[in-house]
């Protein structure tokens, strides 16, 4: 038999083969879900919620848990403290990525609170707090009635893809959705807030889990009596589905012991100026608090470049122990146009004898290259930084995507490169409320660039006049220079 006839036979078998229709449909849905899930860094600008990068966290979990286990074993004092604040191990796990906060707990800096409120089958208990004059981390437990827990499980087990297709109310992301902190006069405390870090599914399915919320005070705390108001959301906001809240307000009074942190702030004057490719950067002051360290940085007005950020910035002592910048939470504040305060994990309790600030590069661009102009209709870039890293622009399922050439070192870096406000050709200011950054792995067509990331914005609804002008807020162009400054 000739091979073509043999092939013909095989082909007949293949054409007659049973196709598992249902299983294939399922695989297609999963593929679409997977694609949606890969839209990382989807972050809502309008709310203050800040989320972990899940992929990254899972890799570090094991090591950090191990450290905690060892810590309990070596410190009998700490072990007794563990029984003093019930559920402490779980709270330690919530702050495991911040060695300053971990060390604050280890040094018994945590205050027990233990107050709850209960409505609609949801009990919220504020268990404990780590507080200093700069910030407050509140640890809380959510506990659901059996009935509500079953509803949550049911909603979680429906595929998220299917759920996106129906506008039904779901309870799969039941969590604290809105918070207000009031002082003793009932006035709102000026603070930035962060809450509702993602809860692991298996915890949520038990109907009981712990989480944290953070308050970054705009002014130093002075009194100790506060009231917390909490609203609970049923699910995350999604395109086309408004976020829904339970009707009740959970009201929890909390008493903070301010004497625990009074006078703890330590200030070190630095006044060191470094020059990197003619750009002057001055490190003026370091302030050490129990929950974090703030380093004040000034950029000279005459600098030709705008500096977006430092790479690998860290504090290190003589023994090589390192304290990094804050990864989950407020990373920096900007009191003035050319002035930053960058936050680091605190070493308040470990008191290193000497301390150095070091980094090896900054991300920066000439100030006259910060605008990106795009003809959205024809998917053409009209103006972009001269280094040519923005390879192309396209309207994709995610939004307006820019394909940006990154360095090898940026493999795990997902920069949101644009400010969320932009302008159209008539000068109208528009605002995007969602951004994304994802790896762009090509499926094999030839001649594609490597290290491309797809970064962009979901454009605001409604009409606009082409072209649009975006402003860069970050960008993978570097000025390299190794810097090491003695700060203590």
């Amino acid at each position: 038999m000739r091979e073509e006839e043999k092939l013909q036979k095989v082909k007949e078998h293949y054409q007659r083969m049973d196709i598992p229709d249902a299983a294939i449909d399922d695989a297609i849905k999963k593929g679409m879900e997977q694609a949606s899930a890969q839209r990382r860094l989807r972050r809502s600008f309008s709310s203050r919620r800040i989320r972990f990068n899940l992929k990254w966290t899972s890799t570090v979990v094991a090591a950090m848990i191990l450290i905690f286990v060892m810590m309990i074993r070596v410190s009998p004092v700490f072990a007794s403290y563990v029984s003093y604040i019930p559920g402490l191990e779980k709270f330690v796990e919530l702050v495991r990525f911040d060695k300053g906060l971990t060390s604050a707990i280890e040094n018994e800096f945590m205050q027990p609170v233990g107050v709850f409120d209960e409505h609609e089958g949801i009990k919220i208990t504020i268990d404990s707090a780590i507080v200093d004059e700069q910030q407050m981390v509140l640890f809380y437990t959510m506990e659901l009635s059996d009935e509500l827990r079953d509803r949550v499980i049911q909603d979680m087990e429906r595929s998220s893809f299917e759920a996106e297709r129906t506008a039904e109310t779901r309870f799969d992301q039941l969590e604290v959705g809105k918070v207000q902190l009031l002082d003793e006069h009932g006035e709102s405390v000026m603070a930035s807030m962060q809450f509702s870090s993602p809860v692991p599914d298996e915890e949520r399915k038990k109907g009981k889990w712990v989480n944290e919320m953070r308050f970054y005070f705009h002014e130093a705390l002075d009194s100790g009596q506060y009231t917390l108001q909490i609203w609970v959301q049923k699910h995350d906001p999604q395109p086309g589905i408004e976020r829904e809240f339970f009707d009740s307000t959970w009201i929890i009074p909390i008493q903070i012991d301010t004497s625990k942190f009074a006078g703890m702030k330590e200030t070190y004057e630095l006044n060191e100026t470094v020059t990197i490719e003619r750009q002057k950067i001055t490190f003026s002051r370091m302030e050490v608090f129990p929950t974090r360290i703030g380093i004040h940085v000034k950029f000279a007005e005459e600098n030709t470049h705008r500096i977006f950020g430092f790479d690998d910035l860290e504090l290190v002592d003589d023994k090589g122990e390192k304290w990094g910048t804050i990864v989950n939470g407020v990373t920096a504040t900007m009191p003035g146009e050319n002035e930053w305060i960058i936050y680091f994990e605190s070493n308040y309790f470990s008191r290193p004898e000497s301390l150095y600030l070091q980094f090896s590069s900054v991300r920066a661009l000439p100030k006259d290259q910060l605008q990106v102009v795009v003809d959205v209709e024809n998917e053409r870039i009209l103006k972009a930084p001269k280094d040519g890293r923005i390879k192309k622009v396209a309207n994709t399922g995610m939004g307006l995507s820019f394909f940006v050439k990154m360095d090898d070192r940026d493999e795990h870096m997902y920069l949101n490169i644009f400010e969320h406000k932009y302008r159209d050709a008539d000068g109208n200011e528009l605002e995007s409320n969602s951004a994304f950054a994802t790896n762009y792995d090509d499926f094999g067509s030839e001649g594609e660039e490597s290290n491309l990331k797809q970064i962009g914005l979901v454009l605001a609804d409604g009409e606009f006049t082409n072209p649009l002008t975006f402003t860069l807020n970050d960008y993978p162009h570097r000025l390299d220079k190794s810097i090491r400054l003695k700060v203590r």
């Binding site: 091979e3 293949y14 054409q15 999963k30 997977q34 994709t396």
Partner: protein
Amino acid sequence: MHDEQLVIQAKNGDDDAFYEFIQNHKASLYRIAYAYFKNEQDALEAIQEVTCRAYHHIHKLKQPQFAATWLTRIMINYCADERRKRRRVQIHAEVSDLQPVTDRDRYQMIEVEQAVDQLNEKYRQVIILKYFEDLKIKDIAQALNQPEGTVKTRLNKGLRLLRRALGEKGGERNA
């Protein structure tokens, strides 16, 4: 609805249209994956991955009339990559669990499948698309992003290699 219309809608973010578009090609995609992996589980995984890639990259599809060949290309690329990865850990060629009518048929099928399996990837691709999926030379050329002439050359060479492989095996059997 037609592919072209579906793709245009999918590019505008219509998930239902995207789903329907993949649905229209699922049998063909499944068979190609099956030809490579010879089992249902891996073929389904391939469909999931290909769907995911297509979803990410559908904006790149400038000419919706080539949507079908574009999907085929993603699948072929996935299969080839996956095969290359698996080769390193796997020695035995897999045999499909399809159930041919007679033992003789079954024997021949295994023989052919194994022979195709041994081919260099560039010949395997064209043989699978031409003889298992019955695509026209023109469509194969598009799916593989190669000139038609190249596809024809590879088909001829592939068939010659198959003939030799099958012939040698036949020889052993008679001996």
